[in-house]
Amino acid sequence: MSNSERSMRTPLGRVRAHGASGEGTGHFIAQRVTSIALVLLAPWFVVSVALAVRDASYLAAIDWISDPVNAVGVILLVAIGLYHMSIGMQEVIVDYILKPSTKMILLFLNAAVPLVLAVGAIFAVLLVNFGV
């Protein structure tokens, strides 16, 4: 700050990228874009699965996942839904967890667990459809 009077940089140029996290609008926009997709995907999934797999039997579940439209829909739901929930939970963690070590561990888990689950679930849908 001592040489700010002699600096050629504008005040905006000096503060840019020095916010709490260096960025922010990316997640803000992603959360809204994914929510628009989920407005369609989530109700479709609940009603479609509830009608098709009402007794929760194995064969009914396999039948439902084997339909190409359902397979594509549920892969989209898992990918977009888990991304949406990871952003949302990140916001909750940075709001409520003050201890830096705990916050860092939770942020790591919140990045890792949805990614692992999404890859596992998408692979499971492909396995049901294309088999071994």
Binding site: S35, V39, V46, A50, Y58, M85, A124
Partner: protein, 132 residues
């Protein structure tokens, strides 16, 4: 953060204990609570898909949990949470355009989201029992 007091030294607004509960406050808190709850539901969705790919025996375990009273109760809460988060999420997308932000409009839409959350599981149950 240089020179800023640590979080424990900062003055705290005496807000939670003295504020009258109003519906927009409840709707905001419910959005977070249902979002965190749906995190668990999404994990269960991934486990359901993975169990279906693993075969009848692992799926039988998931089926047993879903068919037990606590599984049925959890599914009721998941459908209610999803319905609430969906309705309130749409409400927030409308807010983002600048519409519906007057206290009267925000109160009305908050009540609508809460009532939708109560009605949606009953509607789904009715669809499964009497329709389709």
């Amino acid at each position: 953060m240089a020179g800023a007091p640590s979080p424990h030294d900062r003055p705290i607004a005496p807000h939670v204990s003295i504020w009258r509960w109003h519906v927009t406050m409840a709707s905001s808190i419910l959005h977070r609570v249902t979002g965190v709850g749906l995190y668990g539901a999404a994990i269960c969705l991934a486990i359901w898909l993975i169990a279906a790919a693993l075969g009848p025996e692992p799926y039988g375990f998931v089926d047993a949990v879903l068919s037990a009273w606590y599984g049925q109760l959890a599914m009721y809460l998941v459908v209610a949470s999803l319905a609430y988060h969906l309705a309130n999420g749409i409400r927030h997308l409308v807010f983002d355009t600048g519409a519906g932000l007057t206290p009267a409009d925000a109160d009305t839409s908050a009540w609508f989201a809460i009532l939708f959350a109560l009605a949606a599981p009953i509607g789904l149950w009715a669809l499964l029992t009497f329709g389709g």
